[in-house]
Point group: C2
Chain length 142, copies 2
């Protein structure tokens, strides 16, 4: 799966830990290890769907607008990666019964697979992700 998903989760988790002030795309991009423009692109999508708000100008940035438990990984998957599970199907030979129908058969099967994935991912909200990040941090060897 494409890394927009990871960047969205990463950004939201970052914002979750800064609930009282705005975070800039520069800060987030430094944490995520990618270019600030990509962060702004991903966050612009999250903003459009009401998960966060942004403010331009000095002192501006991004901040969470919802409760952490109101956003789950399925929401984010749908925004950033819907259809990513579908295997690629080269254009095949329509004269052959297999070639003519395989694409649709696999499409249908993986539509079901994506629904199942949804049920699983709905169990993880940003709150859970924050908790898991903290757990990892504490269990880390040093």
């Amino acid at each position: 799966m494409n890394s927009d998903f990871t960047l969205a989760v990463h950004s939201l988790t970052y914002l979750a830990l800064q609930p009282d002030r705005m975070s800039t795309s520069d800060c987030i991009s430094e944490s995520a290890g990618v270019h600030p423009v990509r962060i702004r692109k991903v966050l612009s999508l999250l903003k459009k769907h009401g998960f966060i708000k942004s403010k331009e100008g000095t002192g501006g940035g991004f901040i969470f607008t919802l409760e952490l438990s109101e956003v789950n990984l399925w929401d984010i998957y749908m925004l950033t990666s819907e259809g990513a599970l579908q295997p690629r199907c080269p254009d095949s030979n329509e004269q052959c019964i297999v070639g003519a129908n395989m694409k649709r058969v696999l499409f249908t099967i993986f539509l079901g697979a994506e629904e199942h994935l949804g049920e699983y991912l709905k169990n993880y909200t940003i709150k859970e992700v924050v908790d898991l990040v903290n757990q990892e941090q504490n269990s880390g060897c040093d």
Copy 2:
């Protein structure tokens, strides 16, 4: 997901419909719409795991060795695409609590997701795929 999965399923379905004679990589590649070398590469993997056998030389090719219901889509996913569900994680900043732990947290979550996908994909054997292909063919408008 990468198209090796599709090509493997496509090839096996093709072989399922030719149970009595060997099929060449040329025939299969024409049905699947890709280069014969790719088919041979994918089939070489399926052979290594005992799903099919091959024979070189004139009159050679590939043929199923198992019952159609003994091979399911999870088997094929594992061979061709294990880990494909994992979202890409750019190397992030280890100094930041989010950057330092996000990768592992997501990895763990998607390991679980892949297990769930497995339970779903095990429900589809090549036999079911053949049936679905036939259904599609018959329900086609013309």
